[in-house]
Structure formats: C-alpha cells, structure tokens
C-alpha cells in the first residue's frame, strides 16, 4: 500500500514539475496555458488519490469520510480548472492578443 502511495505521489509531483517547466519553456500566452492549466490537474488527481489511499490505511468510517472529501476536492477542481483556463483564454482573445504561430497560416479550420 505504501509503495502505491509513494509511486502515485512521485508521479503527481512529476506532473507538477512538468507544468512548471512548461510555463517557462512555452513561447506565448496561449501555449503556456496548456501545461499550466492541465498538467496541474493531472498532478493534483494523482497526489490526491495517493492521499485518499493513505488516509484509508487504518480503515474506519471517519477515514472513509476523509478520503471521500479528498476525492470531492478532485471533482471540484476537474469542474473549475477548465472553466478558469477558459476564462483566462477568453480574456486574452477579448484583448485581441494574437497567438504565436509557426511560419504559415494562422488558422487551421476543421469541418465547415
């Protein structure tokens, strides 16, 4: 059990690190949001699952309630994090900030 918890925590921290490195390395505002908004979500999911499992170490009703609360944190972050990311992107678009692109076309339309 402890091994699983440790592995999950390390994976979570790895995702958080990736998010931080990504914010520094990416070229512009929009592409920076990709690691910032979502590698964090994955890191949080993993470390929270690890914590929930760790709390369940000595099984009781109280421990189960605590780990359910931890899972509830993940649920709320999974709802709010995309919304917050979307709000930041929307602010950028409203301020008419042009996205960084490679040489060539700006828009790549799919479908209609």
């Amino acid at each position: 059990m402890d091994i699983i918890v440790t592995i999950l925590l390390i994976c979570g921290l790895f995702f958080f690190t990736g998010g931080a490195v990504g914010i520094i390395r990416m070229p512009d505002f929009y592409s920076r949001l990709h690691p910032a908004g979502k590698l964090d979500t994955m890191g949080l999911l993993m470390s929270m699952i690890a914590m929930a499992l760790y709390t369940l170490h000595d099984f009781s009703v109280d421990a189960m309630l605590t780990s359910l609360k931890i899972i509830l944190i993940v649920v709320f972050v999974f709802i709010t994090s995309p919304t917050a990311t979307h709000a930041i992107v929307d602010a950028g678009v409203r301020a008419s900030l042009e996205p960084w692109t490679k040489e060539g076309t700006t828009h790549y339309d799919l479908g209609a």
Binding site: F14, F15, G18, V21, G22, R25, M26, P27, D28, Y30, S31, L33, H34, P35, G37, K38, L39, T41, M42, L45, D62, L65, L68, K69, L72, F78, I79, S81, P82, T83, T85, H86, V89, D90, V93, P99, W100, T101, K102, T106, H107, Y108, D109, L110, G111, A112
Partner: protein, 187 residues
Amino acid sequence: MTEQNQENHPQKSADSKKVPSRRSRFSTSFFVTFVIMFGIWLLLSGKFDLFHISLGVISCLMVAFLSADLLLPYPKIGKMPGLWLRFVRYIPWLLYQVFVANIHVMYLVFHPRMMELIDPRIMRFKSRLKSDMSLVTLANSITLTPGTITIYISVYGNVTFHVIDIESGKSLPFIMEARIAEVFDEI
C-alpha cells in the same frame, strides 16, 4: 457535413427548451436537488446524530427551495438515471484520454527541441450537440485534455479551440463529441 447545416435555425432550439412551470419546480428538480445537497451535507459534516442531521435537512430544504431551478433547469425525470449511468461510464474514458494527452504534453515540455515540435493553431469546428449541458461538457472535456483549450463555444455549437500541435486537435474533439452525443442521447 450536410447535417451540420441544418441546425443553424435558432427557433428549433428555442422550441425544444420550454420554460418550466411552477409545479415542476416543486416536484422533480426540487427533490433531486434536495437529495444531492443532503448527500453532500452528510459527507462534509460526518456527524450522524439527530441534531446535526435535522440541521442538515432544514438547510438543504431551504437551499433546494431557493435554487432548485439553477442546478436542474429542465428536469426530465425519466431520462435521468440512464443519463447519469452513461455519464459515469464516460468519466473513466475521459480520465484515460486526459492521462494519454498529459503524457504527450509532458513529452513536448521536456523535449530539447520543443520549439520544432509544437505548432500552435486556432481550430474551429461545428458541433452537432444541441443542449446546453452537452455543449458545456464538450467544452470542459476539450479543455481538460492537454493540447487543446476551448476559446469559445456558441449556443449553436460553433467551437473555437487552441491546439498546441495539430495531432492533438485533429481527431480527439470529434471522438469526444460522438461520445458526449451518446451520453446525452443526441445521436
């Protein structure tokens, strides 16, 4: 592509969403909201004696009375269990996709020649989803999977999103849209 042109009629979507009558406010959505609220109360309080449970019942009744139509604006009680079951089945698939896409973005972030690999673009497509709830689910699912961020989604289903490289934006939103259409029974 011919199907996509048909949903450009505003009246069609306006007709399908009828304003809920006052009676429905006190039956289905009120009851379901109360049950959800009370479940969260029990989970968060963790005390199961009579005093705390009665406090919970009173406050959940108040909240359900005041804001039942916010949580479930158009309740269709017959469809609800099937919808929630399909939604619960959708979540593991979404988590798997989020995981795979996360690995991809991690690979990009730690790659020494990252600037050659990424190719940020803004993409657009027309979704055939109709209800508000499925469009919100689509937008949030697109944003949750790394590599794609929803910039704008209109009520008629025009989705604009930013991608970090073309591969992550080419197929995934379409598979996702089909899955969500299945969940919300809009095939």
